[in-house]
């Protein structure tokens, strides 16, 4: 019963963060802020959502698989964000956006 409540809270929080990430990726003014919104909430939303499912599944093979998925996502997600930011930064002399001004600001 308590496990159910905890897992539902985790899932709800996960849904919230997933949605926030999507909103941030759409609404924020430039590439770097969008990347910030997307990658952070991606990680948090993934942990919370998969954690919620894990509590529901109890001790089983499914939990092990979920842990594996979580592990790989935690490895690859930030790396992909890093690689992307790096590529955007390196090629800013051609078509990529310039570094954002320190104050931020709208397009």
């Amino acid at each position: 019963m308590i496990v159910d409540v905890i897992s539902f809270v985790l899932l709800a929080l996960g849904a919230f963060f997933v949605f926030m990430g999507g909103l941030g990726a759409l609404r924020l003014p430039d590439l770097y802020t969008r990347m910030h919104a997307a990658s952070l909430t991606d990680s948090l939303g993934t942990i919370l959502t998969l954690g919620g499912i894990m509590l529901q599944s109890g001790w089983s093979l499914a939990t092990v698989k979920l842990l594996t998925i979580l592990f790989f996502l935690m490895m690859t997600g930030p790396t992909a964000s890093y690689a992307l930011a790096n590529a955007a930064l390196l090629s800013r002399d051609d078509d990529a956006p310039a570094l954002p001004p320190a104050t931020g600001g709208r397009e």
Binding site: L11, L23, A25, L31, A38, T49, K65, L84, A87, L90
Partner: protein
């Protein structure tokens, strides 16, 4: 609660797709693709539970592993383009 999460994921997918459509830079689109990949992993994991077949988590595992390679291929593409662009 599963339905709430699934709905949130689908809405986020739509938002990410919008980002991929409007750009404006190519990097924004790659970012959107990457987001889309993570969301698909979550979606598949949740649907596997909803339909009572947790053994289909293999699929989510495949996505989690494969998506990253796509991003690296993009990185390599940019690098190649820059290399050959500078030479010519």
């Amino acid at each position: 609660m599963y339905y709430v999460v699934t709905t949130a994921i689908l809405v986020t997918m739509a938002l990410a797709l919008t980002r991929a459509l409007v750009g404006p830079t190519v990097y924004d689109r790659v970012l959107a693709v990457n987001m889309f990949g993570t969301k698909t992993v979550l979606l598949v994991a949740i649907i596997a539970f909803l339909s009572g077949r947790p053994d289909f988590l293999d699929l989510a595992l495949a996505y989690a592993l494969i998506n990253f390679v796509g991003v690296l291929a993009v990185l390599e593409f940019f690098q190649k383009k820059r290399h050959f662009g500078r030479r010519s």
